[in-house]
Every structure is written in structure tokens, then in C-alpha cells.
């Protein structure tokens, strides 16, 4: 190994770091350490002049290792790696010490925060000497895309990609495209027709030369990695079709919550207690009638059915409040004399035009009643013979503080939107994780909302969480754009910091096989050694820490590098144990 010549740069981050950390003292202290050629501070290391400073010093002082002590590497590691690469150093000979999120932002004692910054930088100095140059790698991208789910999100994504001239395989498990939206009558907040909106999309998808639609089909045996996937389409025919494609979009949607679990609402017991989806179908058919074919004189709509509840689902389904308001507008238009009761827990009207829609809807002679769903749910009871309605709803009205009884001939339950049970099969096939509510997890909740931790796999629409049509469509188009970008590139960079097996040391115990979340590790019977598929590997390090023989190590996170970092951080403050 060449003698390390380390340059250390301490960022002020304006005052973010400098106000709590004495950056000059840090530079002075670490500047004394062996192999540290220079230690400088600068106001904003990530700025162009900050990066220029590094590039100039690498050339002028023949630096071969660089450390920047600044913010989280999640924010600027790539920035600085790119900068050192410009100066001719392998980007992996760079190390970042986080003295903002892990130090200045979370401490209030300047002396101790400065001491901690010194420790963190020393840890980086110890580590960086064991860094090794790593080569970038890329794989070719198959231009075809597999889309699972033919709802609005899947169809929009399919059209976006197909219109760009690229092949799409659209897999739909039911016998028709369109998903839930095809069953809607009107949409909120403009009360425009869902059918008029979706019909042309359906036609374009069905007739598009670049889209192969597979209805009543499921996808099986997905193998491969970004750019190079393979799968089998199963649809009952004896010879299942094998497809190859470079990217996957999961647009598997969600399903309505089954309200029969909630005893108070008597769904299944009272024929005129219906779900919002069932009511939607009545509206679509233009027939809002009780089970006995009578026009209802009293309709109650109960919100948050299965939502925002510790017992069922804690999350908000996001769209039901507005759908309920859409219903009251439609009911009022069709049944001008009907009494309409909106039994809500909180009215959530965010979104473009939604608060205005709420305000307008309050002029439709609706009785709004609030309940506390954390305390007591409304109770639906059968009405007495001499009551002039089918059912009575007993309710602790929150705003008035009174217990009231509401007459109802029909009750609409605004049911929660929940993940499909069979989503686990899809998840297993495409290697995406689920959140606690069984929705797919995106790569980054803010900055990367349609990608997943598996390269080449994207999630769009309500399989990622409840959302309305505009949000679903935005995600679909975003994923399509991401995919078209990788197809346009022709190849895609894959993870460099992967695990590798020292075959000479592998004893074949196979502890590593099952621990891999990406199915990247396999056992080679012939070689009697485990192998890592470096394209599938994400460098998570799980196999490396599981390997009892030390035969697997993760590049850039070797035992030696991690131990050096620990030795560094323990070398100052904790000398005396």
C-alpha cells in the first residue's frame, strides 16, 4: 500500500456546524496526526469553490486520501466522490465524517461537541487508510418493461412508456382493465365522469402496438436483476409464456376494507348498510334504492370505517372524506328531498380544490355530525315498527356533547383502503419490502418515492399507500420517466460496494444463503463455495456479518475498515477504560 497522504476538510456549513463546533480547533488537532498532510476549514465545502479547494490540493499536495467532515454522507458523499474523481483519485478513497447531524445539530455544549467532532474525524482518518480503489460497473438494460396491475396507474405508466416507442407487458389478474377507477361514477372535486376519463385510456392501452396486455394472468418466477429480468406469465394456457424485460413497475393497487369486522355497523346484518364501493356502483347504475326497492328518505354516511383506529388500521385512507362529499352532492342532485347525514370524525380536505369543494358541499343542506372514533363508534340499530325509517344510528355527537339518534334508510360506510392480501406473493417475486401496513416501501419517502431498494423495480399508485387519482397518475408518469431514462442510457450503473467471497476460505457452511434479502448469494456445489451475484448484491453486508469464517467481506465495509474506524473513535476520549 502506498503511504497515505490524507487531506482533511472541515466544513462550517455556514453556522450549522461552526456555531457549535470549533472547526479551527478540529483542524489544528487532526492536522497533527500521522499521514495527515493538511487540514483546512471552509465555509461551505459542498459549494463549487469548496470542491475546487479539494481538487487543487489533491494535485498540489499529491493527496491520495480525502476526508470531508461536514453533513451526512447521504446528502453530499456523491458530491465529494465526484470532486475527488475529477482530480484523478478513485472516488472510494474518500471518506466523510458527519459532524452536523451526528454532532453540531444534536449537542448544546461547544467544548464537548468539538471534542466529539475530533473523535469522528480521527475515526475517518483511521478508516480511510484502509480504503481501496473500487471500479465502477454497469449492466445493459433490456428496453421492455413489465407492469403488474392494469388499474389507472399501471395503464398510464404503460402508455407513457409505449408512446416513447418501448415495449410494455401489462399483467392484470382480473378479466378487465381499469381497476377501481373503472367502477367509479364521478370523481372529486370537480364531479366529472370517471368513465369518460378512463374509456379513452383503456382503448389506447388495448390497441397500442407496443403494449401486450395479459388479462386473467399472474406473474411467476421473477428472476434476474435491473436491466435483465425474466418471468413467466401464467394464465391457464398449457404453455406459459416467458418474458424478458429490464424494469418492473408494481401497480397492484389495494382493496376496500371489510367492514363486517366492526360489530357496531352491522354490515352483513342490515341489508341497507353498504360500503362506499357498493354505493359507487349504485350511483354508476343510476339507482340508489333500498333493498326493498324503495327510494331512501334518510341516508347516513359514516366516515373512517377501519381507518385511523388502533384496532383496524391506524393510517388515514386519504380519499374517503372527499368521496363522501362527492356522494352527498350526487345524492342531493338525484334525491332533492332526502335527509343526508354526514357522520364524520375529522374532515380532511387537503388537495387542490378540495377545501373549496368541502365549503361548497356544506350548502347542500347536509347535516354534519361529528363523532370521536377513538372513544365510541356510532351504533346502527334496527328501527322500531312505528319509526319512519329502517334503522337508527345512536351517536355521541362530539360538538354538541349530546347523544342523538339519527334515522337512516341507508347507511354508507366509507371504508378504509387496505393492501391486498396476495401482495406478499408479488413482494416475494420482485424483492420489495412492505411497511407495517403491508404497503410497498419506497426507496426514500421524500426524495425517491417511486423507486425501491431493488434496482429496476418501481412502485406506483395505491400499492404504495392510499392516494387519489392525480397522485397515482403522477407516480405512474414519474416511474415511466425513470425507466425511460435508464432505457435511453442503454446501461445502468450497479452497486460497487458489493460482497465478495474468498473462495479459498469458504467452508461451505451456507450460513450466508438464507440471510440475503436480495437472493444474491448461492452455493456452488462444484466449487464447494458460496458465490455472490454482484449485480443482485446491494452491499447491505448481511452475509458478511453472518459468515463465521470471515470468508465474505463487503467492499468498502471490510472488518479491517470498520475496526480501524472503531479504533480511531476510541483512541482519544476513551483511552482509559
Amino acid at each position: 500500500m502506498e503511504e497515505p497522504r490524507i487531506g482533511v476538510y472541515i466544513c462550517h456549513c455556514g453556522t450549522n456546524i461552526a456555531k457549535m463546533v470549533d472547526v479551527e480547533a478540529v483542524a489544528a488537532e487532526v492536522g497533527k496526526l500521522p499521514n495527515v498532510v493538511l487540514a483546512k476549514t471552509y465555509k461551505y465545502m459542498c459549494s463549487d469553490p469548496g470542491q475546487e479547494l479539494i481538487i487543487k490540493d489533491i494535485r498540489g499536495h499529491r493527496l491520495n486520501r480525502v476526508i470531508v467532515a461536514a453533513c451526512s454522507p447521504r446528502i453530499h458523499e456523491l458530491t465529494f466522490r465526484t470532486a475527488v474523481e475529477k482530480a484523478g483519485i478513485n472516488p472510494y478513497l474518500f471518506e466523510m465524517a458527519n459532524i452536523r447531524e451526528q454532532d453540531s445539530w444534536v449537542h448544546t455544549d461547544r467544548v464537548e461537541a468539538t471534542a466529539k467532532a475530533i473523535d469522528l474525524v480521527i475515526a475517518a482518518i483511521h478508516r480511510v487508510r484502509y480504503h481501496e480503489p473500487l471500479a465502477k460497473r454497469s449492466v445493459n438494460v433490456d428496453p421492455a418493461t413489465l407492469i403488474i396491475g392494469g388499474g389507472i396507474s399501471g395503464m398510464v405508466a404503460a402508455l407513457e412508456i409505449a408512446n416513447a416507442g418501448k415495449k410494455v407487458y401489462l399483467i392484470e389478474k382480473s378479466d378487465h382493465l381499469g381497476g377501481h377507477v373503472a367502477r367509479f361514477d364521478l370523481t372529486f372535486p370537480h364531479l366529472s365522469s370517471a368513465k369518460q376519463m378512463i374509456r379513452p385510456i383503456l382503448q389506447r392501452v388495448e390497441n397500442h402496438p407496443n403494449i401486450d396486455v395479459f388479462k386473467k394472468s399472474v406473474i411467476k418466477n421473477v428472476t434476474g436483476y435491473i436491466g435483465n429480468f425474466k418471468a413467466v406469465v401464467e394464465n391457464g394456457v398449457p404453455d406459459p409464456l416467458e418474458l424478458t424485460f429490464g424494469n418492473i413497475i408494481a401497480a397492484t393497487g389495494l382493496k376496500p376494507f371489510d367492514p363486517s369486522k366492526i360489530e357496531e355497523y352491522g354490515y352483513g346484518k342490515f341489508p341497507d348498510v353498504v360500503t362506499s364501493m357498493e354505493f359507487e356502483e349504485m350511483l354508476s347504475a343510476g339507482k340508489v334504492m333500498t333493498r326493498y326497492g324503495k327510494e331512501p328518505r334518510n341516508i347516513a354516511i359514516i366516515h373512517c370505517v377501519g381507518s385511523r383506529s388502533k384496532k383496524y388500521h391506524e393510517y388515514c385512507s386519504r380519499t374517503c372524506c372527499m368521496v363522501a362529499l362527492k356522494f352527498v352532492n350526487q345524492i342531493r342532485a338525484g334525491l332533492p328531498d332526502c335527509n343526508i347525514f354526514e357522520i364524520y370524525a375529522d374532515m380532511r380536505a387537503y388537495g387542490k380544490g378540495c377545501e373549496e369543494f368541502y365549503a361548497e358541499s356544506t350548502h347542500r343542506q347536509i347535516i354534519f355530525l361529528m363523532f370521536d372514533q377513538q372513544e365510541k363508534l356510532p351504533l346502527i340499530k334496527e328501527a322500531e315498527r312505528n319509526d319512519e325509517c329502517n334503522m337508527l344510528i345512536e351517536l355521541d355527537e362530539k360538538l354538541s356533547g349530546e347523544t342523538v339518534e339519527i334515522p337512516a334508510d341507508m347507511v354508507v360506510l366509507m371504508v378504509n383502503m387496505e393492501a391486498h392480501e396476495d401482495v406478499k406473493e408479488v413482494v416475494h417475486a420482485i424483492g420489495v419490502s412492505l411497511c407495517g401496513n403491508q404497503f410497498f416501501i419506497e426507496k426514500h419517502p421524500k426524495l425517491d418515492p417511486v423507486a425501491t431498494t431493488t434496482g429496476g423495480v418501481y412502485i406506483v399508485g395505491t400499492c404504495q399507500g392510499p392516494k387519489d387519482i392525480p397522485d397515482s397518475v403522477a407516480q405512474a408518469r414519474a416511474a415511466a420517466a425513470r425507466i425511460l431514462a435508464t432505457i435511453a442510457q442503454g446501461s445502468v450503473a450497479v452497486e460497487v460496494t458489493t460482497a465478495s467471497v474468498n473462495e479459498a476460505m469458504c467452508c461451505g457452511c451456507q450460513t450466508c444463503i438464507r440471510v440475503c434479502p436480495y437472493s444474491a448469494v448461492s452455493y456452488n456445489e462444484e466449487k464447494k463455495s458460496s458465490e455472490v451475484n454482484e449485480v443482485l448484491c446491494k452491499g447491505c453486508g448481511t452475509c458478511g456479518s453472518a459468515c463465521p469464517s470471515g470468508a465474505i467481506s463487503t467492499k468498502h465495509f471490510t472488518d479491517r475498515q470498520i475496526l480501524a474506524e472503531i479504533e480511531g473513535i476510541m483512541s482519544m476520549s476513551y483511552k482509559e477504560i
Binding site: N502, M505, Q510, A546, P548, S549, G550
Partner: protein, 328 residues
């Protein structure tokens, strides 16, 4: 092969010493059986307390570097162990840490899970068979009418040999296999090219698990850990897959997989392969991935079935490990 009488090469000078040891390592030298005769044909044993009556002052009188090879077994537990280690270092050309105790701390090294005070309290006050109302503790110096008596001072910590003196080679094992000793000795005696200083010799590069003949698969999914006597071993499936903790994958080969061949799991006496600095940590990490549980409570329940995890995973290696000792 050792030189015969026609070889003018002078005989090697060989010393064998024990620090904190059980005597097994010295017996392993005797276990070379008739080959011991070859050894003494090639080497003069100049110091070997278990077999020969030579005093420390005789060793002190030897010129520096006059002993060719010293096999030092046992850990460094007290001031006598340390003194003789330093003495033999100065008198010896090639100092070998012989056996797991000298190499890694070994069984005596488990004392680093407690400290001197804890040991003295237990032994001289609390033990069921101790009658010591005056709570007398060992004194390094005692005046009697004939004069001052001295015994070595017991250290708070147990050390490996190379934590006290510079060591040339390490031969692992509890005890080392006699065949391996003969191989190493023969290499030195015949003047073969020796490996770089600091090497582990008399052992393989790869692990015991690699040599093991049992059937291995990825089916390492454990709901309950068993001690060997708690299961009906099928004699052919990997111990780990039967829920019995075996140190084989984190342990250097060289013993000939003797324990597993005797249907007993590997305990790790040969120490880690070069790629695994801390076999206890490596093995715990590996075992952690095998636990088949859905909830933290279930994980705890399964881990509770591991009897004495510290003593199990660090049975031979505590003083040489990253932990070193328990902080008390």
C-alpha cells in the same frame, strides 16, 4: 527428518515451559511417543520443568539466544509466568506460543469474565468447602522465622504470551496435535524455510468446517439450541442444523476434526482462521442469523436456550479477543 549422527550439524537446544496451563500441552509433547526419540536425537532438551530438574537460575545463567526453540504453553496469569516468559524470550531464538492458552488465553483466559478480587472472594471466602473465618488471602510476601517467603503475584487479568513478549510462531490447539508438533519441529530441525514471523503454524489455512464430512445445507434455521446430550445426533447432519452450536466454521482446521469425528461439536480450540479476527464475535453473529423467530420475545426465548454463551463462544479466545475481558 532429524539429522543422523553423520550430520555434523550441532544439535538444537529445545526448551518447553508451562505458564498458566493444565499440563496437557506438555503431555502432547510426550504424546509424540517414539518420535520423541527422534526429537531428542535432533535436539537437547535444556529446560522442561515437567520432565527435568533444572532450576530457573540455571536458565538465567544461559547466554542470550542460546536456546534455539522454546515451546511456551500456558497463559500469563501471574508474575512468575511473566518473568519466565521474558527470561525465555531473551534466551531463545524462536519463541513459539504452544497451545491455545499461550496463543489466545485459552481456558484460564475465561477468568477475564471476572477479576482477581472476584476469584479470591469465591475461593478464599465463599466456596462451600472453605473455612476461613479470618478471611486470609494469599500474600506475595510472608515473614516466617526462617526468613521471608515469596510467592508470585496473581494478576488481575489473564494475558496471552504475545501480550507480554514478542512471539515468533503460534501453534494452536488444546492441546496441539502431536503430529503437527512433529511437522513443525522437523521443519525447524531440517532447516526448511520457515514462514514469516507471527504465522500460525501446525494448523491449516481453512476451517474445521471445511474438512468436516457431515452433510451441510442452508437449512440453518434454529427454534431451540440444544446441548449435545439433549439430542439424538443423527451422526451425519451438520451440528448447527440440529441446533447444536459447533464452532467449526470459525475455527482453523488442523486437529483432524477430532471432536466432530467423535460426534461432539467443535469447541474452537484451534482458534480463528486468518480471515476472522474474533471467532467468538464471528460465531455469535452467524448464530444470530440462524435464529428463527418472528418477535423480539421469541428471539429472547431462543437465545435463553444457549447455556453460558460467553463461555461457549469465547471458550479459548477471550484475552485475545476484541473484548479482552469483562469490564468490572
Amino acid at each position: 527428518m532429524p539429522p543422523d549422527s553423520s550430520n555434523p550439524k550441532p544439535k538444537l537446544k529445545l526448551a518447553v515451559y508451562w505458564g498458566a496451563a493444565c499440563g496437557g500441552c506438555c503431555v502432547s509433547v510426550l504424546d509424540t511417543h517414539e518420535k520423541l526419540l527422534d526429537i531428542v536425537a535432533a535436539a537437547d532438551l535444556v529446560f522442561w520443568p515437567i520432565a527435568m530438574d533444572i532450576k530457573y537460575k540455571d536458565v538465567e545463567a544461559m547466554p542470550d539466544k542460546s536456546i534455539d526453540v522454546t515451546l511456551f504453553n500456558g497463559a500469563i496469569r501471574n508474575s512468575e509466568n511473566k518473568h519466565i516468559a521474558q527470561l525465555l524470550r531473551s534466551k531463545t531464538k524462536i519463541l513459539v506460543a504452544y497451545g491455545s492458552c499461550a496463543y489466545m488465553g485459552g481456558i484460564p483466559g475465561l477468568a477475564n469474565f471476572t477479576d482477581r478480587e472476584g476469584i479470591f472472594r469465591r475461593v478464599y471466602e465463599e466456596s462451600e468447602s472453605t473455612l476461613n473465618p479470618d478471611k486470609v488471602r494469599p500474600q506475595t510476601e510472608t515473614m516466617v522465622k526462617e526468613g521471608k517467603l515469596e510467592i508470585p503475584e496473581m494478576f488481575n487479568d489473564v494475558y496471552t504470551l504475545n501480550q507480554v513478549v514478542d512471539v515468533d510462531y503460534f501453534i494452536p490447539g488444546c492441546p496441539p496435535q502431536s503430529e503437527r508438533l512433529i511437522e513443525v519441529f522437523t521443519a525447524i530441525a531440517t532447516g526448511a524455510e520457515l514462514p514469516p514471523k507471527g504465522s500460525v503454524v501446525g494448523a491449516n489455512e481453512k476451517t474445521n468446517c471445511d474438512e468436516c464430512k457431515r452433510k451441510k445445507s442452508d437449512n440453518k434455521v434454529i427454534k431451540k439450541f440444544y446441548r449435545p446430550w439433549e439430542i439424538q445426533d443423527d451422526k451425519e447432519t451438520c451440528f448447527l442444523e440440529q441446533g447444536v452450536i459447533c464452532m467449526g466454521p470459525a475455527t482453523r482446521g488442523g486437529c483432524g476434526v477430532r471432536c466432530v469425528s467423535g460426534n461432539s461439536p467443535c469447541r474452537g480450540c484451534y482458534g480463528p482462521p486468518a480471515t476472522a479476527s474474533d471467532p467468538g464475535a464471528k460465531m455469535m453473529s452467524a448464530i444470530g442469523t440462524m435464529i428463527d423467530a418472528d418477535t423480539p420475545e421469541e428471539i429472547d426465548k431462543i437465545i435463553d436456550t444457549i447455556v453460558d454463551p460467553a463461555g461457549l463462544f469465547y471458550r479459548f479466545s477471550l484475552p485475545s479477543s476484541i473484548l479482552g475481558r469483562k469490564i468490572i
